[in-house]
């Protein structure tokens, strides 16, 4: 297992890239720790698959380097990098049995037959494939096939990292949960460096201790699930993570406070706000961090959506629309509703970036 590092890495699918839009992956410097579970999260076309393919060596980056444990692997071919990958659609060798499938990567590398038998037995046991070992892989269900793909990575003891490219897309919903928890257990047990690409925030948040949120070829934020939730560094992260996403509304500033419709609102990054001009300012606050109270800012309730254990209330503050999250048993105010923002989780953004943190990105 290895630590993975990107050194000024960037990629364009166009021969002579010209302008920011030509880059599928904009310059990136990252260091991902050994044995961690890292998720690449973002919408389609955000560059996450490009980054994954660069790590695996299927795509050669236009500029920059990839390092495994400080060793430059940028020029190495996929089979030389000792990585394993599970693809979106299960890849199994149809004509082989499950056993032959699992043994394939080892036999290709000339591992001694006794070791092959031992490892295949072990891994099949862990994945619950022992009873299927002598069946042909072609007839198995999608989740069993994904287990085989995973197993082909696990059998090797020289693997630097296991890469997952949206591996649960074709799995039935009721099996998804099971396979997901299996995967988590396997990760804890084998302690492999795991890189998991997904556009599903639930998958990313359950799996990973380090989430890399990407948007338009750029890393918007790297952090733990709690950091992404509590302190999004970019309005995109605020909006993308959470359901519903963060309220992002244009605002003015006045002496370290945000101003919406003439109301001063205390914010977490007040220091940054003190030194800013008033252009392209936005206030970001999650629906979970607004509450109804008796002495707050008066608002109008527009609609209430019951989503089971909680309710999502749409309100307007003057002409600004906001969403508020109310837990199931909390009462809604009947007349003259007023709200308060939690200052610890109310942030000011400028040009999309958390005010005071955008210097490195513009």
């Amino acid at each position: 297992m290895a630590e993975i590092q990107f050194d000024n890495l960037a990629h364009s699918y166009i021969k002579a890239p010209d302008g920011a839009d030509d880059w599928a992956l904009k310059p990136l410097d990252q260091r991902w720790e050994d044995g961690g579970a890292h998720a690449l999260l973002g919408p389609s076309g955000c560059g996450k698959s490009t980054l994954l393919n660069i790590i695996s060596g299927l795509v050669a980056p236009t500029t920059g380097r990839v390092l495994f444990d400080d060793e430059d692997v940028t020029a190495l071919r996929p089979e030389q990098r000792n990585i394993a990958q599970v693809f979106q659609f299960p890849v199994v060798y149809d004509t082989m049995t499950v056993h032959q499938n699992l043994a394939f990567p080892m036999r290709n590398r000339g591992v001694a037959e006794t070791d092959v038998q031992r490892r295949v037995g072990e891994i099949a046991d862990i994945l619950g494939l022992t009873s299927d070992l002598n069946r042909r892989a072609a007839g198995l269900t999608a989740d069993a096939k994904q287990k085989i793909s995973l197993g082909r990575g696990l059998v090797r003891d020289d693997v630097n990292a296991m890469l997952f490219d949206e591996p649960l897309t074709v799995i039935d919903p009721h099996l998804k949960w099971k396979l997901r928890s299996n995967l988590k257990l396997l990760h804890q047990r084998f302690d492999f460096t795991m890189i998991y690409v997904t556009h599903d925030q639930t998958e990313a948040l359950t799996f990973a201790d380090n989430i890399v949120v990407m948007n338009e070829g750029r890393v918007a934020q790297v952090g733990t699930p709690a950091e992404l939730f509590e302190r999004p560094r970019h309005t995109f992260v605020g909006h993308f993570i959470g359901s519903p996403g963060m309220n992002i509304v244009p605002c003015g500033i006045d002496n370290g406070c945000a101003v919406i419709a003439g109301r001063r609102i205390a914010i977490a990054n007040a220091n940054a706000a003190l030194h800013r001009g008033g252009r392209n300012m936005e206030l970001g606050v999650r629906p979970e961090h607004i509450r109804f109270c008796d002495d707050g800012i008066p608002v109008t309730v527009k609609r209430v959506d019951d989503v089971g254990r909680s309710r999502i209330v749409e309100i307007t503050l003057a002409d600004v629309r906001l969403k508020v999250f109310v837990l199931g048993n909390d009462a809604l105010p009947d007349a003259n509703p007023r709200i308060a923002f939690d200052p610890a989780y109310t942030h000011l953004y400028q040009n999309g970036w958390l005010a005071g943190e955008d210097a490195a990105h513009d």
Binding site: F87, P105, N108
Partner: protein
Amino acid sequence: MIDRKPNPKAWLLLLPMLALVAFNAVLPLMTVVNYSVQETFGDNVFFWSGVEWFRQVLLSDRFHQSLLRQIIFSAAILAIEIPLGVLIAITMPRRGIGVAFCLVLMALPLLIPWNVVGAMWNILALPDIGLLGRAVNGLGVSYNFTQQPLAAWITCVVMDVWHWTSLVVLLSYAGLCAIPQPYYQAAKIDGASRWAVFRYIELPKMKHVLTIAILLRFMDSFMIYTEPFVLTGGGPGNTTTFLSIDLVKIALGQFDLGTAAAMSLIYFLIILLLCWVFYTVITRKGQQ
């Protein structure tokens, strides 16, 4: 679930199709069946002869020999065209301007009418004036397809390979292009050799198109008539007289309607049977 009641009126809509099939397939076939069980001495007077013609055809040396030649010919062209076609398909580019060029190049032989192919190869291979014939003889190899049975055979086989390998190439190429990229990527990561990629990914994924290719090439080659007829006329002697050439000789040359009809039916049944066997064997094997 939607509850659909069968509507018997739908069968009425099938009547035009049934009429069409009756006129262009069933009736002509029945005429042949009719001839195959009767004897005539002209004047449109027919006598019942039962299975006599079938017995005669099945027991005749002449039929055995043409059948054997036919089987050898089909086996030879399949043994060459299928591997060659797959090999060419694998080496063809998958993207870029080369694709269009290769596809057009490959499609060209398929666009040429059968009799033109026969005439082309006839002229090309003539030992005195043909480019190929002169060249081969010039190299010191005695080659004359109008005189030497082996030369005639080789010319027939090469001509068919030239004409029809493209079909196998195009089918295989379509099969190869349908393989999703992750299979190749997974194989790379698993450290598979080029041979292993072919053996465990490409070949299994091409199974269905290759089944079609084998069936099409088998049926076509087993019924081949025009090209060898134009090239060699079945000669020298009877050495390249394949089944259909023999059939035409019997039916139109000797005007033995009964024998020809019986032979047609046997010929038809052989093709049907072999195709069924091929198809069953290949699909069954895939299901194991």
